[in-house]
């Protein structure tokens, strides 16, 4: 009996020692939009590389940035690149690494209208500013020949909570409309001139479904997975493009000048195939990681994510990174010291 107890103790000690020696535990927190793919990645990476285990908490981009800046997590994640001010205030020097791409699509509910509506940037900005109030406004009827739009009031629906989705949407509207840029601007929770707020993608699409003559915006991932119909948006080249994984990657590829710190907005990207309301989402990695084991684990994961990780994207309806971005990021990994 005593022997058995001794053996168990020894075994436990051994396991504990092995665990302590070789497993690197990393904590990360941030954006909710890429949470599904991140969870998948971290899970698969852990099975392939048992020595690294990453916990991810989808607490929101803003909270992710705050926790990273305060040094309470090993790395962060955000749908919105950090501002110069945030970078200056952060305790740690932060590097941005794009991981996947997302897009935001307009979804609507108009009695008697089926099929994809075409939206010009001017129409979307007008609707969300409250200057276009009826569905049969010339700006809308011109872009949709052959569709009979009713003379009803447009019910505008936006996100109630601060979110990266709203940031991408308002970033696009700021680029295409000076009025929007000056009166509202871009942000995770702007001061909406009109409309109702729904909580989360499900809240917005629920309100759109329930409310006649309404329009809202949801993430592409959410629309595809829940079979929600959505409209086409006119891009900078003048083409009406429907968002899908190809047109989103095309937007990233056609964005010409990728800055060295990867903090770039790709809304309203040039190129005829580009879907204009697209965006990267980023991992925020400290530039200096004193703990060698953690540093190597993070670098290893980034390398894996850029090559093998990207193959998991389509299954979860995230668009993959274009080749030129992957090449540039691979070089940037060496900046982590």
């Amino acid at each position: 009996m005593k022997k058995n107890v001794l053996m168990v103790c020894l075994l436990l000690g051994l396991v504990a020692a092995v665990g302590a020696d070789s497993t690197v535990l990393l904590n990360a927190a941030g954006a909710t939009f890429p949470a599904a793919i991140y969870t998948k990645w971290f899970d698969v990476y852990h099975t392939q590389h048992p020595s690294a285990q990453i916990n991810y908490q989808p607490v929101g981009s803003g909270a992710g940035i705050r926790q990273l800046a305060a040094g309470t997590v090993d790395f962060g994640a955000s749908d919105v690149p950090m501002t110069d001010e945030q970078l200056a205030q952060s305790k740690v020097k932060v590097l941005h690494f794009p991981t996947v791409l997302g897009a935001v699509v307009p979804s609507y509910n108009i009695a008697g209208v089926s099929g994809d509506l075409n939206f010009t940037p001017k129409a979307l900005a007008g609707i969300y500013l409250g200057t276009i109030t009826k569905w049969n406004d010339p700006e809308l009827t011109k872009a949709n020949p052959g569709v009979k739009l009713p003379g009803e009031d447009i019910v505008v629906i936006h996100r109630s909570e601060g979110s990266g989705t709203s940031f991408i949407w308002t970033d696009f509207l700021s680029k295409v409309s000076d009025d929007w840029k000056n009166k509202v601007g871009k942000g995770a929770s702007p001061n909406w001139p009109v409309g109702l707020g729904g909580k989360g993608n499900d809240g917005v699409s629920g309100l759109v479904k329930q409310t006649p003559n309404s329009i809202g915006y949801v993430e592409l991932v959410y629309a595809v997975q829940n079979n929600i119909a959505y409209g086409k948006v006119q891009n900078a080249a003048g083409k009406f493009v429907k968002a899908d994984l190809t047109s989103v990657t095309a937007a990233a590829a056609s964005s010409k000048d990728m800055p060295d710190d990867f903090r770039v907005s790709i809304t309203n990207a040039p190129g005829p195939a580009a879907y204009p309301v697209s965006s990267f989402t980023w991992l925020l990695i400290p530039a200096q990681i004193p703990d060698a084991a953690k540093r190597e684990a993070i670098k290893g994961f980034l390398k894996w994510m850029l090559v093998d990780g990207q193959n998991y994207n389509e299954g979860l309806t995230y668009a993959r990174l274009p080749k030129n971005v992957i090449a540039k990021e691979t070089k940037a990994i060496s900046l982590i010291q």
Partner: protein, 327 residues
């Protein structure tokens, strides 16, 4: 009996018996006194710590906006301009609507259950009501989205517009979500509190009071309304303020049905927002320092509102008690 007690008393250190018992009880008293004192003090401590944290962390916003925070109507995180007025308005309006609906309903139900219903029915209904009080608020929110919102759009809203449409409260577009819907959902949520507590209080009214009134020739209703209810009014008011506190601080269910727009409108059909709902919606993505500080100041404002309303409630209770004595 007395002889056995005497023999016990004579034993040198009394381990059992009345005196030892009394001594232990006295010790127990002290223990109980200390323990309860610690718990009571901890409530005070927690409250003051909350206020302290809110005060310290809202420093940036307080120095930037000063008192104007209370009457500014703009909430713009992009241009870093913050004012709490629309949210204060939304909080007060939704809570008022909730009480206007819930108080008559809850008091009538409690009176019926305590005074008129057979005891067995009263007890089983009370059990169900206590269950209702334990339902999480997100469930009430879902109930709001799937039942109250469509009803508001198709039945309640048009009916109100048809009958009371001349009042400013019932004009303007009706989206289904808004102040009124939030108030109705809140009313459903707080009614169990009012019924449950009021019923218990009404049941504690002594029989003599009721019998005296009946003996003087009062009808059963007169005895209930003029004697039993006034006797229990302090407890009934307590139940109403418990309900008010819940309505003021409710987050999830309100967010789901209020429409979340920074709007001040006399129309109850208009979408709006409350303090608690705004904090819950915006805190996670509040990246800027001033932004975060303003949200924390909102928390402070909510605390202040609750504090003031609670104070008024106490005054009201004191005033009615005096009034009751005079009568």
């Amino acid at each position: 009996m007395s002889s056995t007690a005497a023999t016990f008393d004579s034993a040198a250190p009394p381990k059992t018996g009345p005196r030892a018992f009394i001594r232990r009880l006295r010790h127990g008293d002290e223990v109980a006194h200390t323990i309860t004192l610690v718990f009571a003090a901890s409530i005070l401590l927690v409250t003051s710590m909350i206020v302290y944290e809110l005060w310290i962390n809202s420093h940036l916003s307080r120095t930037q906006f000063g008192w104007s925070f209370f009457w500014t109507r703009v909430w713009d995180p992009i241009f870093d301009k913050y004012g709490a007025l629309p949210y204060i308005y939304g909080t007060l309006v939704t809570s008022a609507v909730a009480l206007v609906i819930a108080v008559p309903l809850g008091l009538s139900a409690a009176t019926f259950l305590a005074e008129l219903a057979p005891r067995r029915i009263s007890d089983s209904v009370a059990f169900l009501i206590d269950l209702l009080a334990a339902v999480p608020s997100v469930i009430y929110g879902l109930l709001g989205i799937f039942v109250v919102v469509p009803m508001m759009r198709t039945v309640i809203g048009p009916a109100l517009k048809g009958s009371l449409g001349f009042l400013p409260f019932f004009q303007g577009p009706n989206y289904g979500v808004g102040f009124l819907t939030a108030g109705i959902v809140l009313a459903i949520m707080v009614v169990p509190f009012i019924i449950s507590v009021s019923r218990e209080v009404l049941l504690t009214v002594p029989r003599d009071q009721r019998e005296a009134a009946l003996a003087l020739g009062a009808t059963r209703w007169e005895a209930t309304w003029k004697v039993v209810v006034p006797w229990a009014r302090t407890g009934i008011m307590g139940s109403v303020f418990l309900a008010l506190a819940r309505a003021l601080g409710e987050t999830m269910a309100v967010t789901m049905v209020i429409g979340n727009a920074t709007v001040i409108s006399a129309s109850l059909f208009s979408p709006g927002d409350t303090i608690a709902s705004t904090i819950a919606n915006q805190f996670t993505e509040a990246a800027g320092n001033l932004y975060q500080s303003a949200l924390i100041e909102l928390g402070l404002v909510l605390f202040l509102i609750t504090f003031i309303l609670n104070g008024l409630a106490r005054l009201l209770i004191v005033a009615t008690e005096r009034g009751g004595q005079r009568a």
